[in-house]
């Protein structure tokens, strides 16, 4: 098989991509031109160029499961379920038409971004608050959790805000308890850092 660039009429639009019951559930509109499709799921941390290289190296494989990339060829199908344990979120889903001896891929990273659908990962923040009476102060304990972030320890992954002051949370701080004493009428507002916003959702669980 050869890797070739697709033109607009070869593009296949993804209808939906989400997690349902521990599965990535992917559905798309049937293509009249291309009954064979390579459903490709890659970790959002893998770039277009890296994906292209992996595809080139394994283009004969119609089902591939490698580090951060999974694909499977389907014929005349419009949906597919893939176990989330196969590849960890966040993932980008992209459909690549397959002809007799060609796999058609987007021309560049920008084109790829337009066609793919991202299923975001989750960073969880567990927030505990204790207030002391009659002191006008409170203590909050934040724990950010994600066990699969492929970033270095000093990379900033999240933040918390108190009284308009922002404090970064690094990858090394994940799983650690951050204790902050704040005024009683204030609270810590956790949020995802801007860079990771497109890949992760933050879920806050208050106890």
């Amino acid at each position: 098989m050869e890797i070739k660039y697709m033109n607009p009429q070869n593009q296949i639009m993804i209808q939906d991509a989400k997690i349902v019951n521990q599965n990535y559930s992917i559905s798309w509109l049937a293509s009249v031109y291309h009954p064979d499709i390579l459903v490709c799921v890659k970790s959002s941390w893998i770039t277009y160029d890296e994906l292209k290289k992996i595809l080139e190296n394994h283009c004969e494989e119609m089902r591939h499961q490698g580090n951060g990339v999974y694909w499977q060829k389907v014929t005349r199908q419009t949906s597919l379920q893939i176990l989330t344990t196969t590849i960890k979120a966040p993932v980008d889903v992209i459909l690549l038409p397959v002809t007799k001896n060609e796999i058609l891929i987007p021309a560049d990273g920008e084109e790829c971004a337009k066609l793919q659908k991202t299923i975001k990962g989750v960073i969880k923040c567990i927030k505990k608050r204790k207030s002391f009476f009659p002191v006008f102060k409170a203590a909050e304990h934040l724990t950010f959790v994600n066990d699969s972030l492929p970033v270095k320890g000093d990379e900033i992954v999240a933040e918390y805000m108190v009284d308009n002051l922002r404090y970064p949370v690094t990858a090394a701080m994940l799983g650690q308890t951050i204790s902050i004493q704040i005024p009683k009428n204030s609270t810590c507002q956790p949020c995802i850092t801007k860079n990771l916003n497109s890949k992760y959702n933050l879920t806050i669980s208050e106890e």
């Binding site: 203590a139 000093d154 002051l165 404090y167 970064p168 949370v169 690094t170 701080m173 902050i180 004493q181």
Partner: protein, 578 residues
């Protein structure tokens, strides 16, 4: 006598026609003219008028004569009324001055009061009086002064009466004057014997001339030796530190302001409660923070990191130091001087770097928020200073690399085969004279020359423009003659090797006596109308011609550059030499 005058006049006309009017004004004036006797006595004046009438036929009829007290308005009207001069584009004022008996201030005042308009073209006919030793100095001083401060004077004709057994000798200062004169106008010297007795006379002139190729090459070489031989400049790095430290610190301070932390920024760091409880008098630092409050330390370091990346984003546009770096401190001359002591280019910035980026002591007492703010701000300041220093360093090294290139170009020029002029270098007279001139010029104009060479953009620019213009300026202040003695003689005679034969004659010891007189028949072609048919060249006993004659063979190829042309032009008739 008359015949000789005719010959001289014919020769002047001949020269004048061949050379055109540039720098030479011996033809009869075509524009309306007035001759003004400033201070000549009657005898000299009459003789001079006699000469001028020979030189300018019709001068007597058409050129009014005046003196200091004359009514110039009336004379000018008289000139205007002359139908010969219907279109009055300018009036030539020929002022006859005895330089020995003249106060320059008065002369200038007179010219200014009477002829202060662009309409007048002022030509000075200057008489140098050499009867007594002290008059030599006065005459020469005045002449030199006028030549250096010509103001509105267009041409100067110089007449001297000094003879040494028939040969004219202007002396060292006189030669300097002659050189100056040669470079700016024509010089014509006629001694007063011509007017007053029948013993002898000399007649000489020089035209506006250019340096010979060899003297140009020699001067370039000497100049290049000077600029390539930079003295050691061991503490250039210290001067760089003094010059640029302030500029970089100013830029850093300007860039730092908006990025600095305030103490309140660290108010809600993790474990803030414990941090605030730490006693103020207990020493703290980043190490103790990392040890005792690792989560807070991670957050704190990430805050600094965030700020640093903000700095990176905001300082995309580089600080421009081109203005500072174009100042004359960093020339090829200074840099090569520094590199002489086995130093490297990077050492130039060593002192500056140490002074800018040295670790400052941070107070480790006080509240954690104070210590952390101080530490964080130092990191920010260092980061910005480092970036500005890096930008400066890049631009600085480009400038230094360029200065090295300029130096390489200069060295290449110096080693070029064109400048390997061994013959000329053996001649002590020439090397001492012109070499000394170039050395003196370099000593007084070093900064200007170095700046000019340093500003070269490429090798071609250095050769074609910079060196050329520096050399022109050198020759402007140290005139040299381009036409060799041989060329001059051969041109006159119309044959080659005449000069060589003449020197061979000079080399015969019997003919070399004090004030040598040589029969030189070959010049008859110009003076054949003379009664005797013999022409003499009179050479002063100190003339370089004699010394050169002894060594004619080895110096054949280059001797021409050493000849003092003033000697050559001292011509006379054999019967007139007593």
């Amino acid at each position: 006598m008359k015949k000789l005058i005719d010959c001289c006049v014919a020769e002047i006309r001949n020269k004048s026609e061949r050379n055109g009017a540039v720098g030479y004004d011996a033809q009869a004036p075509r524009n309306p003219s007035i001759i003004v006797n400033y201070n000549l006595d009657k005898k000299a004046l009459d003789s001079y008028y006699e000469f001028l009438e020979q030189l300018w036929p019709g001068v007597y009829l058409n050129i009014p004569r005046a003196d200091r007290e004359s009514d110039f308005e009336a004379i000018e009207n008289q000139v205007r009324a002359n139908p010969l001069y219907l279109s009055l584009s300018e009036i030539q004022i020929h002022v006859l001055v005895n330089m020995t008996k003249c106060t320059l201030e008065d002369l200038r005042l007179f010219l200014k009061q009477k002829f202060n308009s662009p309409l007048y073209k002022i030509i000075l006919h200057e008489f140098l009086d050499y009867e007594r030793q002290n008059q030599i100095e006065t005459s020469e001083k005045n002449l030199l002064n006028l030549m250096e401060n010509r103001d509105r004077i267009c041409y100067q004709f110089v007449y001297s009466n000094r003879l040494s057994n028939g040969a004219m000798w202007l002396g060292e200062s006189g030669l300097k004057i002659a050189r100056l004169a040669a470079n700016i106008t024509a010089i014509m010297s006629i001694d007063s014997h011509y007017f007053n007795d029948n013993n002898a006379y000399t007649f000489s002139y020089n035209l506006l001339e250019k340096p010979t190729r060899k003297i140009v090459q020699f001067s370039i070489r000497r100049l290049l030796e000077k600029v390539c031989n930079c003295p050691e400049y061991a503490n250039l790095d210290q001067d760089i530190l003094r010059r640029y430290r302030g500029s970089i610190q100013r830029e850093a301070a300007y860039g730092t302001g908006s990025f600095l932390f305030r103490e309140t920024d660290f108010k809600y760091l993790p474990d803030n409660k414990k941090l605030q409880k730490e006693k103020a008098n207990i020493k703290k630092g980043i190490a103790s923070l990392e040890r005792n409050y690792p989560i807070a330390a991670m957050c704190f370091n990430a805050m600094i990191k965030q700020k640093v990346s903000e700095i990176n984003r905001s300082r995309a546009k580089k600080v421009d130091f081109s203005g500072e770096l174009s100042e004359p401190l960093l020339t090829f001359y200074a840099v090569e001087g520094f590199l002489k002591g086995n130093r490297q280019k990077k050492d130039l910035l060593g002192s500056l770097k140490t002074a800018l980026l040295h670790e400052r002591q941070i107070s480790d007492e006080g509240t954690y928020s104070k210590v952390l703010t101080e530490y964080a701000n130092q990191v920010i300041e260092d980061e910005i200073t480092e970036r500005i220093f890096a930008a400066f360093s890049e631009q600085f090294m480009k400038k230094i690399d360029h200065t090295s290139e300029v130096y390489q170009w200069l060295l290449e020029c110096l080693r070029s085969p064109e400048l390997q002029i061994h013959a000329i270098e053996k001649e002590a007279n020439l090397t001492n004279y012109y070499g000394g001139r170039v050395d003196d010029y370099f000593a007084s104009h070093a900064e200007e020359i170095i700046a000019k060479l340093d500003a070269c953009s490429d090798k071609e620019d250095l050769l074609k423009n910079r060196l050329h213009s520096i050399l022109l300026q050198i020759f402007d202040s140290n005139p040299v003659y381009y036409k060799s003695f041989e060329e001059e003689i051969n041109t006159r005679v119309g044959k080659v090797d005449i000069a060589k034969k003449m020197f061979e004659e000079i080399s015969e010891k019997d003919s070399v006596t004090r004030n040598i007189c040589i029969n030189w028949m070959n010049l008859q072609f110009k003076l054949e109308k003379m009664e005797t048919g013999d022409v003499l060249i009179l050479i002063h006993p100190n003339s370089k011609l004699l010394r050169l004659a002894d060594n004619y063979k080895p110096l054949e190829s280059s001797r021409q550059d050493c000849v003092e042309r003033i000697d050559f032009h001292t011509l006379s008739l054999k019967p007139e030499v007593k």
